[in-house]
Amino acid sequence: MLEKALYGSKRYYGLVALLAVIILIGLAAYLKQLNYGLGVTGLSRDVSWGLYISQFTFMVGVAASAVMVAIPYYLHDYKAFGKVVILGEFLAVSAVIVCILFIFVDLGQPSRVFNVILHPTPSSMMFWDMCVLMGYLLLNIVIGWTVLGAEKKDVPPPSWAKVLAYISIPWAISIHTVTAFLYAGLAGRAYWLSAIMAARFLASAFAAGPALLIILCLILRKYTSFKTSAEAIQSLAKIVCYAMIANVFFFGLEIFTAFYSNIPGHMAPFQYLFAGVDGYNNLVPAMWGFAILAVIGITMLVIPPLRKNEKTLIWALIAVFVAAWLDKGLGLVLGGFVPNPFGRVVEYYPTSTELAIVAGVYALGLLLLTILYKVVVGVRAQTAVEVEH
């Protein structure tokens, strides 16, 4: 089926070429990092995780969000999602690969990465994260490819594929829970030490992921023969709406606990993120951006005419996606390191090399997504033609 990705329109080739160029730039930047060390980034002794890990955290959420299409379809026989499930699974595949790549480029000694397998450490959440991410990647590749292949041959998928699909549902929840556990168990980081971390991660994932999926469906509808039904899009939009409400609600709960309890250690990160502390305030615009865009997005999604009109819907979804990214992809990880264990603020700014590597990894994920979606579109188009005959 991969041959479907080899031929396409000029626009398709142009996209592939553009992504390839960005990947090469990112690769060159990564070689620079390999050669010199992580000093090429803006990381510091106090903010020891930056964009790489924060983007990993965000993309695990996007990967997990495939479950929001799988549950209605596989568990509850919601036929409207039947045509879209494959897009969710392939989005999950690309997202997980992006996650793995972000972890890899973040390592100080990447050639030793197999030490995690050679010396398994059950007490470490990072070990389990590797296990569940690999498992989820395999699950989605196998399920997606098998089901698509069955569709191409116009036969029902084998029954074991359905079993794997059932397994992938709790597995999807687990990948993001384990990722949340990376943060939620650290006694020394007050911003992260919260029971609601996993719940908040999942809520924001189920808002951002399906939002991205709908946007991708609308793009496919405009430029290819793959036309997602309005019903599927509306159902997904409602999922995004409620998930984002939950996400914002959970964030509000965090703010209540921090400020009603009045504990300085708990309040300080919020103060840094939303007002700045000691003159340090580089994340303030991002966090207020999150707040404003979240409200706009939720409002637009809640009001039925705005949700049903796909022209306004797309802006609502972009608002939700960007809001979730600002919160999780910037505020969460960077805010956890402020203030540092000595009560001081050290700020983090990514460098151009770092941004190039981030862009390269994202471009690789997008390229993979493009190729996988091209295959889906190709198979769908082919089977549609066959049905016509």
């Binding site: 002794r45 995780w49 030490n115 020394g188």
Partner: protein, 261 residues
């Protein structure tokens, strides 16, 4: 047979063969051939009691920090964002940020506290390390295996004391005089104070203890007769962030006799 079965057979043979070859290779020298030297300092639970009142001048710190950093090939990097430090000094307000108070005594305000890895009883860094590159020895020291560290920096995120440093680049150019007895580290690994484990294994006390001229008391916290236990019986001591459950083993006292300063 058809092509599918043939491929399945080849795969099975390949995996089976690989497993067989694994078992065939016999390497490794006998562990019985290696012994701890009889000079190793015995202990179940190393700890330190630091008498802050004996650290009056900058020179008092300098000699301790320099002794440690020069012995262990710790690079001298100026940029505080990328520096590597195993032992350094900070004031009360920052060392004990959880004990912040508006009304500190004048004396406490002027005090400087030597800060280092606490070699915790329940170290969060050991719990989160995905490769056990950071591990706890039976004698209580939280040690590091720089060969195994993959540089993921999870330990740095988990340490509540900010005790760990990362090698953002090759540290060699920043080491004035390499001590040939010990290796340096390389870029991409995390490092921290190791309580001079390699010296203890040869019967010597840590370098900072030696250089401090009695200001740092070192001993086995499980031995009621040790110097550290005596110091703790006779002096009021505090530790950093005890409420987090890490069980730090670095105690701070304020003078040889009596409670407080």
């Amino acid at each position: 047979m058809n092509r599918r079965d043939f491929l399945k057979g080849i795969a099975a043979a390949g995996i089976g063969g690989a497993l067989v070859f694994q078992g065939l290779d016999k390497f490794g020298v006998e562990a019985a051939d290696m012994v701890p030297t009889s000079k190793r300092l015995p202990a179940k639970h190393w700890g330190m009691v630091i008498d802050v009142s004996k650290f009056q001048t900058e020179e008092d710190f300098r000699k301790v920090a320099d002794a440690c950093h020069s012995y262990h090939n710790v690079p001298a990097i100026d940029d505080p964002k990328e520096e590597v430090k195993w032992i350094w000094a900070d004031d009360f307000e920052h060392t004990f940020a959880e004990l912040e108070s508006k009304y500190l005594s004048e004396e406490i305000k002027k005090m400087q506290f030597p800060v280092l890895c606490n070699h915790c009883e329940e170290p969060p860094c050991v719990r989160v390390c995905p490769t056990q590159a950071t591990f706890k020895r039976p004698d209580g020291i939280v040690a590091m295996d720089y060969h195994r560290c993959i540089g993921c920096r999870f330990c740095m995120a988990s340490c509540p004391y900010g005790a760990r440093s990362f090698n953002f680049f090759d540290p060699r150019p920043y080491i004035a005089q390499v001590n040939p007895e010990l290796p340096t580290r390389t870029k991409g690994v995390v490092e921290k104070c190791n309580l001079c484990a390699e010296r203890i294994d040869k019967g010597l006390v840590p370098v900072c203890v030696e250089a401090s001229g009695g200001a740092i008391i070192f001993g086995d916290l499980d031995d009621p007769q040790s110097e550290v236990r005596k110091a703790l019986r006779e002096n009021f001591a505090i530790r950093r962030k005890v409420e987090l459950g890490t069980g730090p083993n670095i105690y701070y006292i304020f003078g040889g006799g009596g409670a407080g300063a």
